[in-house]
Amino acid sequence: MNDTSKSRDYLISISAVILFLVVWQLAATAGVINRNILASPFDLAILGAQQVVDGTIFRHTLVSLSRVISGFTIGAVLAIILGLAMGNSERFRIIINPIVEVLRPIPPLAWIPLAIIWFGIGETSKIFLIALTSFFPIVVNTFKGVTGLDRTLLRAARSFDVTPRKMLWQVALPAAMPDISTGLRVGWSLALAVLVAAEMIAAKSGLGFLITEAMNLGRFDMVVFGIVVIGIVSVATDALLRAFIGRYLLFWHRGLDSAGG
Amino acid sequence: MDVRTDKISIDAVSKQFIAASGHKVEALRDVSLSIGENEFVCVVGRSGCGKSTLLNMVAGFLKPSSGSILVDGKQIEGPGKGKGVVFQNLALFPWLTARKNIEFGCKQKGMSESERNQLSTELIDLVHLNGFEDKYPFELSGGMQQRVAIARALAIDPIILLMDEPFGALDEQTRMVMQTELLQIWSSRKKTVVFITHSVSESIVLADRIIVLGTNPGHLKREFKVTLERPRDRLSVDFVKLEAEVQDALD
């Protein structure tokens, strides 16, 4: 795709967004939509500006982000280690795989009550929940990546007398990396959504809390603003994660193509 | 050799691609070539020299960056219209069985179901796929898939048949049978064939003329007229001599 058609695409996208905002604003002004529930873009912009100036929104965003990051890191590290171990040791796989397969169908949000029972409504329960949420997609993808290893690749590596250890680091891990990366991205976006839900159900800070509190106060403009911020955070962090993966994990790969939703 | 009118004329064709990195890749430079009506032309050349690119331009999938390609004296307007293609990577429809794949083109022409059925049965016989006609492509071996692709191209009874390494995945035995069948079809139904292959001996068995493409960028390197009487004996002195010459031109 050349530069002119790319900038043309941007133009179309941006015009569509502007059109959408204008129609929304007009509908709000004309009273077609209830402004008490769905604020107009203009009102939202003002609200956003206030929130940015007094820093509230940053505080909640940071709280949520730090929760997701700590939980995600724990979940991802555990998942990659277990996934690799399952791929490399038969005995380990026989024990761990059934447990993973039994727990996996339980949606992460269904863990919220148990997390609260086990760890209270503080930080620990949220980090546990996020770790758990990110764990499953990553472990499954890592395992898939290691077992789906190209047989010829393995054979090629063997024929060079590669030691098992080197095999892990220099063949198995890099070859599983595309799958692991998929797992990381799925895990991350899921974790973010789950955290918001958890914060809505039981928390005293964070973006999810912001939304429930606004709801309880009847401030639906704040609710909409919160939704938008969460969306932006999600899009932005996914872009960051993708850049990180492309840069450090899949630099040898052709780059992430658009496959997979 | 009878004198033929030009069916396909390729005139000073060049093709550049813009690679994903943004660099220009020159695939073909200044290729001129005339292919007569009912002529059987084989194109050989090292991997990456632009054989598929040339074929795709004749097929109407790609436009030359410069130069022109005429069929029957007219600029080609696009794919189809009597140009049958066997793709290098087959392009079978994975959701259709072998038979339905073969019938696809005739269905587009509006042929009745019974006619289609009869035709596909004949073709299945021809490419020796009996017993596999109701299998999906993923259930077929690479060579079987290739034969489905060939049958599918033949089904529309094209005037020009463009084949990109169609026998590449076949074992030697099947390959020879298919070569004979193809020659049979070609001579009985009179088609103009452009056939890409990596096998020098295959090109000599089949072609009226062999085009050798050179690399970097792809260009016309040499041409060989094959005047040996068909069916050609691979062990004959002339065959072996020509084989050595073509091989030489390739290296």
């Binding site: 992460p108 918001v196 658009s258 939703g261 | 097929a59 083109g105 191209a153």
Partner: protein, 285 residues
């Protein structure tokens, strides 16, 4: 010597007859492995509870959980709402929401995927919609539709819509260009190319979207039911928590897991039925 080593290729020649025997034994009795693992696991769990090493409040033993399951089926919780009522309520909400989402998302996704301008114009919205945390929309839906069934169903519809639409768009958009060329070379008209090539080529991705959406529907409904209702499995496990009935929470989670599992198996079967040819690409799932 590992038992069934499918992961890392072993040369066959050296392994000898014994290995072949053990392999075939395990292949025919493969279900035994997880059964043994679980038997041991449940046994250890039970014993640890009995000897007091696991606090029954945090981790009720399997025997208690079994009793709880019976209790839920026969007496119900909370307010004597029986387990099957919870299940039916949850299923009804999620299935209705899911079906509405699918009915909207597939045609819309096909349109967007087919017309490039639409795709470019809607891209910001799709990216954003897909990235919103579905539950965060619930307050808005409650405000609009009130707290009853409609707001929950609307939430499911919203949540499932994006995954289905994204996959449908991708399915239509990323049809292997070589297949389109093949169709062109056989003089296929635009409409027939759409119907006979693009649509079938898109079905595996659409199905992938349907599967993801189903998982999302189930996840979202459970959370939505934790807010302001006593009906449904989500309500069950959250109410149980507030009554300090960990056993009920855990049994409820188990039931949720089983339903989710059965549903995904069902969709797999359906996929296999409807598009058997995509088996090859599916086996990696």
């Amino acid at each position: 010597m590992p038992l069934t080593n499918q992961n890392i290729e072993e040369p066959v020649s050296e392994s000898g007859a014994a290995d072949v025997v053990s392999k075939s034994f395990l292949n025919t009795h493969q279900w035994l492995q997880p059964v043994i693992v679980f038997a041991i696991l449940l046994g250890v769990w039970e014993i640890l509870s009995r000897v007091g090493m696991l606090d029954p409040f945090f981790m009720p033993p399997p025997s208690t959980l079994a009793q709880t399951l019976v209790e839920l089926i026969t007496e119900g919780f909370p307010e004597n709402i029986l387990l099957h009522t919870h299940i039916l309520v949850t299923l009804k909400r999620s299935i209705i929401g899911y079906l509405i989402a699918v009915a909207l998302a597939i045609p819309i996704g096909i349109l967007i995927g087919y017309f490039q301008v639409l795709d470019i114009a809607t891209q910001p919205f799709v990216t954003f919609g897909r990235s919103t945390a579905p539950i965060s929309i619930l307050p808005l839906f409650i405000a609009v539709f009130d707290i009853g069934e409609v707001s929950k169903i609307a939430l499911i519809t919203f949540a499932c819509f994006w995954a289905t639409v994204t996959n449908t768009i991708a399915g239509v958009k990323f049809v292997d260009p070589i297949l389109l060329r093949a169709a062109q070379s056989m003089d296929t008209s635009r409409i027939r190319t759409f119907v006979e090539v693009i649509l079938p080529a898109a079905t595996p991705r659409i199905f992938a979207g349907l599967k993801v959406s189903l998982a999302i529907a189930f996840m979202v409904i459970v959370a939505a039911e934790m807010i302001a209702t006593v009906f449904g499995l989500g309500a069950l496990i959250n109410e149980a928590r507030t009554w300090f009935r960990t056993d009920i929470t855990m049994v409820g989670m188990f039931v949720i897991g089983v339903i989710g599992y059965v549903a995904s198996i069902g969709l797999d079967r359906l996929e296999h039925r409807l598009i058997p040819w995509s088996q090859a690409s599916r086996s990696s799932e």
